[in-house]
Symmetry: C2
Subunit: 323 residues, 2 copies
């Protein structure tokens, strides 16, 4: 089975699209890359970065002759993209995407997929808080999960070729049902992002002088929420518009638990608080055991060197007013 | 003014206490260090690590002859510690602490402080998710804030000496009112920790097979919450027991905002969601501008190298079943 594709068409060229272009090229997975994006400035940026071989603002032109087409636009644009590209898709081509929600994508895309085209939805669990074609880098997918959610009737060989494509870019690939994907991602990703956006929004509403102190002292926990809440706004809007049911279900569970916790704080329930805070450590240990994070201290950021000893602050024999 | 102390007494020798011992020694800030802790095993660990000069389970013995005493136990133990050490504190000594809440500490400690002892509460905004004497390292405070909250009547020279002590260990030192400290920390630190503990707790209650998938795919956001929620349970219990009012006030604001956001998801308010997600980016930028974090991608963790191209996954001329 060959994992090499004749032509890869990327519709949309943000962080994920540009990283696929760089990784697929570096790993020798494609002969040529066609890039299509709606905004001419973005297309020009992709061209200057040398991400592809063909550049066009017309997605139908990009997919002509492509045996692998990957939708990398926000999920909200899929319907319009499919209307534009469906007549130009080659028989036998594999059509995939990188959207963060999957049931909605299956519902939206499937009716447009021509006979003989294999639709295999995908979701690489990789990203940074940066967006745009210049944010991409070829190592983005290394040791990151990529979840594929093909419907049962989809051609198995097409699925295998796409598995091999993502594996060659360094991903660990897992196949599952679209609904199950959406539920697992709601709790691992969507609700954490919603909560992070929310708390950062609360801070943005504080009086100006308090806000500036919050920023100054943000390293004590808040900083990590702001990093999560700095991801692409349009992508995240679409996630919440298209995975509403799973998000509301999981958010509802969190809010129930938060009410219990809020009450424990109000009544001063020390043993209850300590029990919860101890229990959560076990989840953390499982994540380290599963190789999903390191146990390195201080949130992964390196500590600076200590200042040299005996600098001007330190005077052994004083000389000041209380020496 | 000398920043060198004759004897530093550390009551409690966890992450912060052991880091103070290492940093103060390395910077030549103290002639000798007395370490006291309640549990003999912990004391033995500190001795094996060579953190001090004198080791005792009796805090009164540790503070005898000390001109700087720093309480590094959980805040919940301060009352008992003060009852034990008050008669042994030297006139002229500076008494400080490292607790994460300050108004409660002022209320608890002040009645026990003997005439002539200078009580200057402190809070180094530094830490990792690890605890215990072996978790300490001398660079922990470098470029981190240390907030001091002396009451207005406290001796200015004592405050200055403590400022110099923390500066020499690498901290940026700020002085403010205890109530103000507690409000700012409630939103930058305490509520984020409460929310992180909460969502990790929700996951701990999921069915076992879903939970194992959540752990597997945790890199998509949840992982960063578990890191926050892995901090010392007893310390955090005491934070919520002793900064209740500010925590409930700030948590209340967050919950109001979350109700609005939940409704926006339910009714599919795309423009509202996008507006919030855009607004929060500005807060993130302020934090980077303030030097409190770097703009480095992917939550600060390095990416692994990509696999070598043309490995077994990639066969240019096929040979498999669909070549």
């Amino acid at each position: 089975m060959s994992t090499r594709f004749r032509r890869l068409a990327l519709i949309g060229i943000g962080l994920i699209g540009s990283s696929i272009a760089l990784a697929a090229r570096r790993q020798g997975l494609v002969e040529s890359i066609a890039i299509s994006t709606r905004r001419p400035e973005t297309l020009e940026e992709a061209r200057e970065l040398g991400l592809g071989d063909v550049y066009t603002t017309d997605p139908a032109e990009a997919v002509r002759g492509a045996d692998l087409v990957i939708l990398c636009t926000p999920v909200g644009a899929y319907e319009a993209v499919m209307e534009a590209i469906a007549p130009a898709l080659e028989p036998g081509a594999i059509l995939s995407d990188v959207g963060s929600v999957k049931r909605h994508v299956v519902r939206t895309v499937t009716p447009h997929v021509p006979e003989g085209v294999h639709f295999v939805p995908g979701h690489p669990l990789a990203g940074t808080e940066h967006s745009g074609p210049s944010a991409g880098f070829p190592e983005l997918f290394v040791k990151r999960w990529c979840v594929l959610t093909p419907e049962p009737e989809v051609d198995r060989k097409a699925v295998q070729r796409l598995v091999a494509f993502w594996s060659a870019m360094g991903s660990q690939v897992e196949t599952m049902d679209a609904d199950h994907h959406d539920m697992v991602l709601a709790i691992t990703s969507h609700v954490p992002h919603l909560i992070a956006y929310n708390i950062v929004g609360t801070v943005a509403d504080l009086e100006e002088d308090t806000q500036s102190e919050v920023i100054k002292f943000s390293a004590s926990g808040f900083r990590d929420f702001t990093r999560i809440a700095a991801s692409d706004p349009v992508m995240w809007r679409d996630v919440f518009l298209t995975n509403r049911d799973a998000v509301l279900e999981m958010l509802g569970r969190c809010l129930e638990d938060l009410s219990v916790l809020q009450r424990a704080v109000r009544v001063g329930d020390g043993p209850g608080l300590e029990a919860l805070f101890t229990r959560t450590r076990a989840v953390r240990r499982s994540i380290i055991d599963a190789g999903q994070d390191s146990a390195a201290p201080d949130f992964g950021r390196p500590h600076e060197q200590a200042p040299a000893p005996q600098e001007h602050y330190v005077r052994e024999h004083g000389g000041g007013d209380d020496a």
